[in-house]
Amino acid sequence: MKKKIITIGLLVLGLIFCMPMIFLVSSSLMGKSELLESLSAILSNSDEYVKLIFMPKYPTFRSYVKLLFDSPEFFVTYWNSIKIVVFVLLGQLIVGVPAAWGFAKYNFRFKKFLFTLYIVVMLMPFQVTMLSSYLLLDKMNLINTHLSIILPGIFSTFSIFILYRSFRVIPNEIIEAARVDGSGDFNIFIKIGLPLGKNGIISAMLLQFFEYWNLMEQPLTYLSDKGLWPLSLYLPNISLSYADISFVASAIVLATSIFIFLAGEKYLEEGISTLAEKE
């Protein structure tokens, strides 16, 4: 009985947490007039609340057709987001993974200091480094180019922090054994580090995907040309009169994130769990 109550309680809580998503999907299937009626509280600035409608009266795919077949602007931003995310993740794979391996498995002077510095940089909010980053990127003639987002992203310290933890749990004995068998450092990294740290790498990449998929401040600061904006800036640019399109666009954005999450769910869970493990 007690278990049932807990289960029901959890289901209710789960439903409450899923409500924005349910509302998003149901709104994307509403006609424009029905949607504007449900949002009338926002549009008229009245004291009323927005009506949450879970089942549209007259479900329609008109907004989907409008967005997917008649809004090339949406696709420009969609592919901009994909471009930024893919290049950032590729860069992190090339730069961040070896850096994390180095921190995890090698001892060198100022290692602790450097790692602390990494953590401090990771903890700094964007607003703190915004001006200095802007000046630097401007000096490098990278303002208003995708590189102004991609380049700092490649050297993000957050993924190194996660990867460090996942590499750290690899027993040193295995590495020692490989050394004894005559394996070089690079070989050990490729043949032992990468396979054993796979979960951590994938989870770091997934977390970074969500980070850069939803990026707002950096593009808003560094990209003045709307044609370079990612999807995260397209959605706030849609006025309330185009709310129907906004909900569909959000649903598509969500769909991409969900597919990525489902494809790497196991690794994400395992990768995050390593963060909690004691060294």
């Binding site: 997917l68 077949f69 008649d70 809004s71 090339p72 602007e73 949406f74 696709f75 420009v76 931003t77 969609y78 592919w79 994909i82 003045s224 040309d225 709307k226 044609g227 904006w229 397209y234 598509i252 769909a255 991409t256 597919f259 990525i260 489902l262 494809a263 790497g264 196991k266």
Partner: protein, 406 residues
């Protein structure tokens, strides 16, 4: 089943689920790519394609267009033989010919036949004249005989009481002699003065010339063939076969214009052919005698050495009523109006998600002058580099996105 198998099975199942979602993600991205193309295609089909013009200096001419025909001042008809077949025509409208050039050929047998008919008519008239002479001579002789007989009778009766009677009879005959033969004389005179005989003689002379040249008809004078009234392999109907215009005597334009427009036209105004560079000067503009809503306009060509001009050609001329030069002019197609206010749609660059796009911005303008082609607008409203929409493949409204025509 061993525990390890179960564990392996679970792992494989998990793998399958992951690869399934990766596949879905790949299909999703491919779909997004296809939709990207479709949405761009749809956009390119719906965005109006426009042609633009910039402000430029131009002369605005207010003109009245008149359609009419070019005619020669001196025309000569080339005679034809009615009822004869035309074998061939060697010239066309606009051909330049010299006197004596062969224009067309008629069927020789038909011409001979017609000549023979004319000859018969001439013979008939000559016979009638001959007979009239015979009648006259006979009547004269008869009258002379009567007078002679009366005179002899009078001489014989001399000294008798009847002398006076014979004398008066003789004198009466003598006095009436001219009166009695005058009708015969008049018949001769009438026949001699018959112009038709003269015409017939002229005609037969022409026919004989044609027969001598085996049916070929030649140009009676030099000039340009302005009209051909016969056609090949048909029987000629009218008295004239062609019209030859002597262009050295000048060419004039004859046209009609609605009276409302015609009232603005004054003698001496300049005009220009709508196509080509031929210039004209208006010589007269007067109300049509049959229709008071129409005015007849005559204009002469300023430079009739122009080789493009063809007599009989239909042309439209623009009579220039006024002409003034302005710095800021655009084609009239670019001018739009709403609620009695004039405006133009100017291209404005806008930074959008699709890069730099053009939008149609409405700019209200004041008109200084305009005609059917150009409009002059007041300065300081539109910049010299602004591009004004003058044509589009779809209706363009304020703030519409547009694409420039390549």
């Amino acid at each position: 089943m061993k525990i390890s198998d179960i564990l392996n099975f679970q792992f494989k199942k998990q793998k399958r689920i992951e690869s399934k979602y990766i596949k879905i993600l790949v299909y999703f991205l491919i779909t997004m790519f296809l939709l990207t193309f479709i949405s761009r295609l749809s956009k390119s089909l719906t965005v109006p394609i426009v042609q633009t013009a910039k402000l430029e200096a131009a002369e605005i001419k207010n003109v009245v267009s008149i359609t009419g025909i070019l005619e020669g001042n001196e025309n000569t008809a080339v005679n034809s033989i009615e009822g004869c077949k035309v074998n061939d025509i060697y010239v066309s409208v606009g051909s330049k010919v010299n006197a004596g050039d062969i224009l067309y050929q008629m069927n020789l047998d038909n011409v001979k036949e017609k000549a023979s008919e004319i000859q018969k008519q001439i013979d008939g008239k000559n016979k009638a004249l001959e007979r009239a002479y015979e009648d006259f001579n006979h009547a004269k002789k008869s009258e002379d005989q009567k007078i002679s007989d009366a005179r002899n009778a009078m001489i014989k009766a001399e000294g008798t009481l009847e002398y006076e009677t014979f004398k008066s009879a003789y004198e009466e005959l003598l006095n009436n002699k001219d009166y009695n033969i005058i009708s015969y004389k008049r018949v001769i005179e009438d026949l001699q003065n018959d112009s038709s005989l003269q015409n017939l003689n002229n005609t037969i002379s022409n026919y004989n010339k044609i027969i001598e040249s085996e049916g070929n008809v030649t140009a009676p004078c030099s000039g340009v063939v302005s009209d051909i009234l016969i056609s090949k392999d048909t029987i000629s109907e009218g008295p004239s076969a062609m019209i030859i215009t002597d262009i050295s005597k000048g060419i004039r334009f004859e046209g009609k214009v609605p009276a409302l427009d015609g009232e603005k036209i004054k003698n001496g105004m300049e005009a220009k052919a709508s196509s080509g560079d031929t210039k004209f000067t208006v010589k007269s503009c007067s109300l049509d005698t049959k229709d008071s809503n129409i005015m007849n306009v005559t204009a002469t060509i300023k430079d009739d050495k122009n080789t493009d001009i063809k007599i009989g050609q239909n042309v439209t001329i623009d009579v220039i009523l006024s002409a003034e030069k302005y710095n800021g002019c655009i084609p009239i197609e670019g001018l739009r109006s709403e609620s009695k206010k004039y405006f133009v749609l100017v291209l404005k660059e806008e930074n959008s998600f699709l890069g730099t796009i053009f939008k149609a911005e409405r700019v209200y303008v004041e008109i200084i002058d305009k005609n059917s082609n150009i409009v002059a607008i007041k300065d300081n409203v539109i910049n010299i580099d602004d591009e004004i929409i003058i044509k589009s493949n779809k209706n363009v409204f304020k703030d519409d996105e547009v694409r420039k025509d390549d």
